[in-house]
């Protein structure tokens, strides 16, 4: 009888220990990002930036599962289902595009999975649609364009031609700019997402007589436009948020980009210890300068590693609090989460320069906004 009780007690202890053992194991992070097609370079930046943080921490606390979404919402949704149902990931991250994020994140966070966005911050998830398990580690989409609007005011532009792809982020990028810009919009053009030929738009820019062109064309779109614009003989100044002028674009478009001003929350020359460690480590590991995509993924990984010091995802409330505390050294300097789990951070204007060794990159010119809070935060009841 005594033996039986003992055996029961032992097995009960074992059963109780079961989940604790599992929680003691590596937590699973599912990364869905774009690794094929004209935006494959962006996904590689996200993956490499995240991996670098894990390697530098030398920690085996995180098991990373990386899958390609091919920039297709349907693919992203089925990969996400697989990660949640069969891989049983604790945290998801990686998506670059707002339309893919909107297809994946609301569903994932409702099922109790944490989603940490290393890029893309659609307004729909920042205001009324905010969620306790959704954290944005990059920016709300409107933030960099709002700073671009401020920049355009100080640069004295009165009449600006606006162009962005026709999808949720493109609309946020135009709305954000128009919120702060005091001048007129010469025209607003929405192109097809993934469009490669911009002859018709360039002709409109030529005919518009605008002071400047503001555009948001990330990845291969920005490269195609940049090359075609350089060949078009149009000399209207260009500017905008960093996406169209970042480290994934500059090597392919070449010297025609020199001097372009753009707004960003991070730059490879920002003077803080975390950023030095990141930029040097990234160059040593991958042999190229990091882009802002990589910086955001690096911050995302460090945010998770920081939160894991105090809580495990198995205890959702404790882990959520740990994430909210943002207990890590961001490569962008000051970083904290607002009420809607979107960053409060400084925004800079930087400009494209050519270094002595011939590398094209961006250099900070000035800080535009201090501790910026996004415009949708007030609508979030959290």
């Amino acid at each position: 009888m005594k033996l039986k009780t003992l055996a029961l007690a032992a097995s009960a202890t074992l059963m109780a220990a079961g989940p604790a053992f599992a929680a003691g194991h590596a937590i699973k992070v599912g990364m869905i990002t774009t690794l094929s097609g004209s935006a494959a370079g962006l996904g590689a930046e996200i993956r490499d930036g995240f991996q670098l943080a894990l390697d530098q921490a030398g920690s085996d606390a995180i098991e990373l599962i990386v899958k390609d979404d091919a920039r297709k919402p349907d693919v992203a949704v089925s990969v996400a289902d697989e990660m949640i149902q069969s891989d049983k990931v604790d945290i998801m991250t990686g998506i670059i595009w707002s339309n893919l994020l909107l297809a994946v994140a609301p569903n994932a966070v409702r099922q109790g999975t944490f989603y940490l966005s290393p890029n893309a911050g659609p307004s729909a998830l920042a205001g009324k649609g905010c969620h306790e398990n959704y954290f944005n580690v990059s920016w709300q989409n409107d933030m960099l364009p709002e700073a671009s609007g401020e920049y355009a005011n100080t640069a004295g532009y009165k009449n600006v031609f606006l162009m962005a792809p026709n999808y949720p982020a493109g609309k946020d990028m135009v709305a954000g700019f128009q919120r702060t810009f005091k001048g007129e919009s010469a025209a607003v053009v929405f192109t097809k997402l993934g469009q490669k030929d911009y002859a018709a738009e360039i002709a409109q820019i030529r005919a518009s007589g605008a002071d400047a062109v503001y555009y948001f064309l990330p990845g291969g779109m920005g490269i195609a436009f940049g090359k075609q614009f350089a060949q078009s003989g149009v000399d209207t100044p260009r500017f905008g948020p960093v996406f169209s002028f970042d480290q994934t674009i500059l090597p392919a478009v070449g010297d025609s980009a020199i001097g372009i001003h753009n707004t960003t929350q991070w730059s490879n020359g920002l003077n803080n210890a975390a950023n030095k460690k990141f930029v040097e480590g990234y160059q040593a590991a991958y042999g190229r300068l990091p882009s802002f995509y990589a910086s955001q993924a690096y911050d995302t990984a460090n945010l998770i590693l920081g939160a894991l010091k105090t809580a495990k995802p198995a205890d959702k409330d404790a882990f959520r609090e740990a994430l909210r505390a943002a207990n890590f050294d961001s490569v962008r300097g000051d970083f904290s989460f607002g009420n809607n789990h979107h960053p409060i951070h400084d925004i800079y204007v930087q400009k494209v320069v050519k270094r002595d060794d011939g590398t094209l990159t961006n250099e900070v010119v000035a800080k535009v906004v201090d501790d910026m809070v996004d415009s949708h935060a007030a609508n979030c009841k959290m």
Binding site: L35, S36, G37, S38, A40, G41, A44, N166, K171, V188, V189, F190, T191, K192, K196, D197, A199, A200, E201, A203, Q204, R206, A207, G220, I223, A224, K227, Q228, Q231, S232, G233, A252, G254
Partner: protein, 306 residues
Amino acid sequence: MSTVLILEQALNGLQFGVMLFMMSAGLTLVFGVMGLINLAHGSLYMIGAFAAAVVATWTGSFMLGLIASLAAAAAMGALIELVVIRRLYDRDHLDQVLATFALILILSEGTRYTFGSLPLYLNTPGWLSGVFDFGGGLVYPKYRLAIIFVGLIIAAGLFLLIAKTRLGIRIRAGESDREMIAALGVDISKLYTIIFALGASLAGLAGAMVGVLESVEVGMGEPVLILAFVVIVIGGIGSIKGALIGSLLVGMTDTMGRVLLPPLFSQFMPPVDAVPVASALASMSIYILMAIVLIVRPAGLFGGAK
């Protein structure tokens, strides 16, 4: 809207149109003569672009790159005709679609395996950089003019080939009665390989020329393939003349739709709503055009009843 802007947009439409013609000429010939639906035509476009990128980077010569694109696409076209396509002529269209779809997957993954998934970028050759000044404020990139020029020469060459040469007579004969010309002693399988390789080389050249403007990457051919199918359906399947008219119609409709619809919609809607709606409608415009053509002429503009 100024005349200069309309003229420049017309040139853009023309350039897009001739590019589509290079792509759809081969597709329509293969369908017309051999009765074959070739979904892998887009992969030949991609192969041409990759061949040009590799050779142009290696030798530093853009012209050698173009020649390489023609040669590589023609060789690959001949190879897949001999190995795979040849077995499909007597099968029904579903088998052809399945087999050529498999070819897309094989060629795409093969290219990804060889070159990786990052896109390659080519620079415009120095002598075609910059713009040509027509005077009166109309300027146009030289490289795009070169595409128009090459496309028109190819169109003229194809018409001469089909109307004036023995090969052209055989192609036309093959189109109207396959069994009969075989019975008359024409080596039909050699003819098929030649037509297939010819179509492939044009697709490869189109890929190489567009690759310079945009980027060279795996899967670049499929969006163009869809447009090429729209073109040959509008033009009438099997007709080179139809492919030319169809290409120009599609090129103009797409370009002008993108330019004219947003201001038109802004007339009676607030601009905030008008621009996204008009932009979405503009990307549908060519399919609407196709639907209209099919309602009025179910066999396409130049399609004979078969």
